[in-house]
Symmetry: C2
């Protein structure tokens, strides 16, 4: 748990870190968040995350709460004050605090910015990647319920399946499969698919590994018959998938290509240890 | 603006009413809210709203923060302390405050409950109903962006249109049209349609008014060719629609049936003045 949180200009002890009940994030989920990996106290691909934050905010017409440079200072300060070596830093920007109304508040309402961080155990993550994770596929559910359904079925992540039987993405990850001939398949970014930063970085890595990208939908059956499967996210980087809806993928253990991609991942991410 | 808000057991001055940054409503929209009309200081259809709240919470597996009876006491106390005669009371229940993770927090985390209220001007609402409102139809957008797009186009509400061209519902209302022969059409409740309390009450009123309910999807073109159209919500009860995407409905003013339904509405709602 983070000890110090940044809330609108102040670094606060965790228990005092609060937002107003009329914050539009609380009322309407009217905000944007960004998660960035912390590795050896450095921020992984921070410029990409801040660029995406700026794009996401522009898309929903929320002003940047401060410049990217200033955000970078705040993120680093939250990491420093919490003494985190490995973990995640979260930025949440909402449209601000305003009387409850679905339309935008009057001009002059300032966005709210919250930055928190938490430590992750890198050995535990590495052990998880070594074992690989199981996936449960689900239809229409919220991300929260989907992830919970997966956990209760003994799986670590849920993959969403659209009305025509194709996988869209994971509850908090992008979904990938590997087919014979070094073909690596993930659904093209669109209205149903998060434009993951880890996804982007991985794409730049495929050529170097002599792999071919295919951006297209794939079905659950195609995934279950694939050589390998994996997820990408800032939290787990490249996480091998060893089962989908109870059927083993490949030999039912992390495949060699996903394992190699995981190992190579940080060579491509822009990052340096502090 | 409400002056006193109830937050987890305390009645607080509005400026002090806050929730923790790790409230799951703030982080993940992982909660449920309910809006109830206040009329002459009485709560309109309060039992139905509390039943729906309990059903909604059960569906997402959040515990009731207290009994319905106790919730009723809190709602009335918020109305009383804010001295509201006409307005709205909002209940928001989230899964509680817990470390950021998409899966459910460990057992023992208690839901957070926030109750706020605000006054509405009944004369202004009546004047709006008398003039009727304009609608803008929109495709895939968040409720917040849809409503804002409508306002900027000079319309008062947005109606969502699905991929096949049929209206689903309004950004914060249910959508209805009236066809020749006293046929009143609204889309059946389902995954895309809020089971509105005002919608339910209105259905019970149709028979008395010698009108026939048709629960089915209708297209934007069918709505534009309808005799009348209207929205329902706790905020606006029955609100006549006079234009859809710039085309007048009927004579471009509130129709006689929608106006009669609006007038009759509170005869069916369960409510008494305080």
């Amino acid at each position: 748990v983070s000890i110090i949180a940044y809330v609108n200009g102040r670094y606060l002890p965790h228990r005092l870190a609060s937002v107003h009940v009329e914050d539009r994030g609380y009322q309407f989920a009217d905000g944007v968040y960004e998660v960035c990996e912390i590795r050896q106290s450095g921020l992984v691909d921070e410029p990409r995350h801040l660029e995406r934050l700026e794009r996401s905010l522009a898309a929903v017409r929320i002003a940047m709460p401060m410049s990217r440079q200033a955000l970078s200072v705040v993120m680093r300060e939250v990491v420093r004050r919490n003494r985190i070596q490995h973990g995640l830093v979260y930025l949440q920007v909402t449209r601000g605090t305003a009387r409850r109304d679905h339309a935008f508040p009057a001009a002059g309402v300032k966005p709210n910015l919250v930055v928190t961080a938490r430590a992750l155990n890198p050995e535990a993550l590495a052990a998880k990647a070594k074992a690989g994770i199981a996936i449960l596929t689900v239809g229409l559910l919220s991300n929260v319920l989907a992830r919970q359904a997966a956990l209760e079925a003994g799986a670590a992540e849920a993959w969403f399946v659209d009305a025509t039987g194709y996988v869209t993405e994971g509850a908090s990850t992008n979904a990938w499969i590997i087919l014979p001939g070094g073909r690596v398949v993930t659904r093209q970014v669109g209205q149903d698919i998060l434009a993951g930063i880890t996804r982007d970085v991985l794409i730049t890595l495929l050529g170097e590994q002599n792999l071919q990208l295919e951006e297209r939908p794939f079905s659950v059956a195609e995934a279950q018959a694939a050589l390998e499967a994996f997820n990408t996210s800032a939290t787990g980087t490249v996480m091998p998938v060893v089962a989908i809806d109870g059927l083993p993928i490949g030999l039912g253990k992390p495949g060699p290509i996903a394992t190699a991609l995981r190992a190579a991942y940080h060579s491509k991410a822009h990052w340096h240890a502090l």
